[in-house]
Symmetry: C2
């Protein structure tokens, strides 16, 4: 023990946790701007589609089989499946399921996927404690704000250090949403945030394994766990986020508390949420967008292509530099595979990231021709691709903002198509249609849990 080394902790702030608790406790649906409501509904639709779409993946099969014998009274749906679990275990499975294709929503400023932790927690608690759709949406917005504002406070240092920020910040969002639905007081929310701060989930080292989806599920279930205990007046520190040895100082070398408290309830980070047209990490999207645009504009065939030159942001190779992926999951971490399959098939949905496609000889042949180069002048949402043809022609495409970004968002119609594709083979087409409609009309539902019930396989 060297007492002096305790000085490495950063400066403490005051009242941050308390102000966050007051915001959540006081948040009202009627105060939400129309654009914020609309984006929350889009987030919900995208989330439910992803949770249904991941529900028959091995990650989810294993979790359901392992946890089933330990589940409490089955009060909450597992999307896309017949099993029902207690709300804590259901939230875990749904949170993992919605992320298993890496297809869920993304806050691009922090690379946080807020929907998994926040909506998985909110949905499972809403089945236990029925609430109207408007209040449900309000809880989702509050939870998303909490997760994203904490992310802004510590990003990028926290993420650079190795933390999976969707889990470490997501657990606060899940806590806020669950706590709001459970009707926690300001003091109880403060304690709940203290317990959430005690369970930061996830390290980036797990990327490429089932552990990555685990992180979002665990953030959801730990958030409910924290809220349930706090509802019984289980105490914590009153300033767990900002204290000298609190959350932000312990898990990050950067702490910008103003990002948490400034314009709370007036400015909404949740309105900046985005949805992926492609079933992999967001860093790959500009390159995939370029590939699909070049393919479609030129009716490209693989046997015409000699070489694909690609200039990308440095993070692309850092996160997705896998040159020889074997599994579907590994394929999501390979810019070589993603570009090759997008050029070949014109799509990058879940089916393009399965083992048979990743190991397809035609894909392998083309991915050997992908030559990515790191360029610090290229932004994260940009990519510059040149396809060199066998006849010597050079086809260029510069992506300024990838489709699915804040600037070029997916349309409502595109979100519906994505949902239907995800639900295909899992839910009957007619049920999927009704589920889409229920998400769009969540604000009119007397009981938000109708969505969970419609999302089960029967």
């Amino acid at each position: 023990m060297t007492p002096d080394s305790t000085m490495q902790a950063g400066p403490a702030a005051t009242g941050v946790t308390a102000r966050l608790s007051r915001y959540v406790a006081d948040a009202k649906y009627d105060d939400l701007p129309a654009g914020v409501r609309k984006e929350a509904v889009r987030t919900l639709l995208n989330y439910v589609g992803c949770a249904v779409g991941g529900s028959n993946e091995e990650t989810v099969e294993i979790a359901v089989a392992a946890l089933g014998p330990f589940s409490g009274p089955p009060r909450a749906a597992v999307f896309g499946r017949r099993e029902r679990f207690d709300p804590i275990n259901a939230a875990f499975v749904n949170g993992a399921s919605c992320h298993v294709h890496d297809y869920d929503d993304t806050h691009l400023k922090t690379i946080i996927h807020p929907g998994g932790p926040v909506i998985s927690a909110a949905m499972a608690v809403a089945e236990y404690r029925p609430i109207p759709g408007k209040d449900f949406l309000n809880a989702i917005v509050a939870g998303t704000e909490v997760a994203l504002r904490l992310g802004n406070c510590v990003y990028p240092d926290h993420y650079d250090r190795g933390w999976h920020i969707s889990g470490t910040c997501g657990v606060f969002g899940a806590t806020a949403a669950a706590g709001k639905i459970l009707g926690l007081s300001r003091q109880q929310l403060t304690w709940a945030f203290g317990l959430a701060a005690s369970t930061p989930v996830g390290l980036r080292e797990s990327f490429g394994s089932m552990n990555k989806s685990f992180n979002l599920g665990k953030a959801a279930s730990d958030g409910i766990f924290a809220a349930l205990l706090a509802a019984g007046n289980f105490t914590s520190s009153d300033r767990m986020i900002e204290a000298k040895r609190g959350w932000a100082n312990t898990i990050s070398t950067k702490q910008d508390y103003d990002e948490i408290t400034r314009d709370l309830g007036l400015h909404f980070e949740s309105a900046l949420n985005t949805y992926k047209p492609f079933a992999c990490g967001i860093v790959l999207h500009p390159a995939i967008d370029a590939a699909i645009q070049l393919r479609n504009a030129n009716s490209l065939k693989a046997d015409q292509i000699s070489r694909i030159d690609l200039r990308v942001h440095p993070l692309v190779l850092e996160l997705t530099g896998q040159p020889a992926p074997m599994t579907g999951l590994e394929g999501k971490f390979s810019v070589y595979h993603a570009v090759a399959v997008a050029l070949l098939q014109g799509m990058a949905g879940p089916k393009q990231f399965t083992a048979p496609v990743v190991q397809d000889p035609a894909v392998l042949a083309l991915r050997a021709k992908v030559v990515p180069t790191v360029d610090a002048a290229i932004r994260e949402d940009q990519a510059d691709m040149t396809v060199v043809l066998n006849d010597g022609r050079r086809l260029d495409r510069f992506i300024q903002h990838a489709v699915g970004s804040v600037e070029v968002p997916m349309t409502d119609r595109a979100l519906e198509v994505k949902f239907a594709d995800l639900a295909d083979g899992i839910l009957p087409q007619e049920q999927a249609r009704r589920l889409i409609d229920a998400c769009w009309s969540v604000e009119g539902l007397k009981d938000a849990a109708d969505i969970a019930r419609l999302g089960r396989r029967t």
Copy 2:
């Protein structure tokens, strides 16, 4: 995102997680030295006494009430209570219960309390998957080794930064013990450790609130959770502890991997475990020991005392500098209260850290006379006390090693007395006696879960 800042992560090592998994998978009871077995039995006895003794505290009452409606099939005992829970929730409650009086075992080199996470997980899983007492003890030793060796790897930097090391390292110990009982393969243990690394529990900022006990309970339940998923082949990284962005680099600025792998299975950190004669943080023990020795040697009465001068290690005031505690929990973080009550009552058990005693005017009067001074020349297990009497006499006592240390361990008999005191009023005397005997004779039990069944209130 600033890719350059990713360079702040420390160097990576190789094979650490894999070697730890091999050790746990291969660990055999017959290979354990007699002294290691004996200390594990003492740890078990002390743990069970603490879990029973904490079982009617508010922290546990709240947890049981909050989690009861969500528990799965009741297969595991909550020590000292009638309720039975599923193993995951039972482990959480028992882990919190055993720490609620701050009276559980301590590895003094790292201030880790391994028993709570490790034995809570092992006991709950042993009720689900029956095993002989010898195998149970073997699993406890393996789990304790894992927790303490990880602690040695990152202590003190990790603790100084703000982490509650009992939770962050304890979850690995719980995972190892649960995984050993569930019969995980080396690969499955590696994945389980990856999931455990994804759920580091606890910040020091929560000390003084119920959240502190939460941390040990959550480490226990998250350890089972990780082991259960890995048993189903839920995957993670194969080198989560030592990778560039793995556990050690992310949560600590110090990484001494040799502490994890050196002499695994030959040297046993678990043999260095100690037990508290006093129901508060270990840093207060030398001062309390001095106070009780001075009181007993001089038949001191409070009205004789003018002033208590005390020289202590700097950590004492850093952790327990609370001058005006109100609750029992706050009293545990007040050197002023601890010294005053020890001088007045000659004891520092759980009863001395309850609100009525903390607020007792006689204690308040005396604690105002306690004058602690920090002295870097005083070791953590030392204290130098001078009681100045009204008649001008000065009574000195220097504590070289506090009672309960490795050098001056509690005797088996003292552990039994402590156990009986903890169980008093919770279990019938005769049942407590049989429970003590069952712990001492665990190696002969055909079913280790007999201890859990005997530890329930009927």
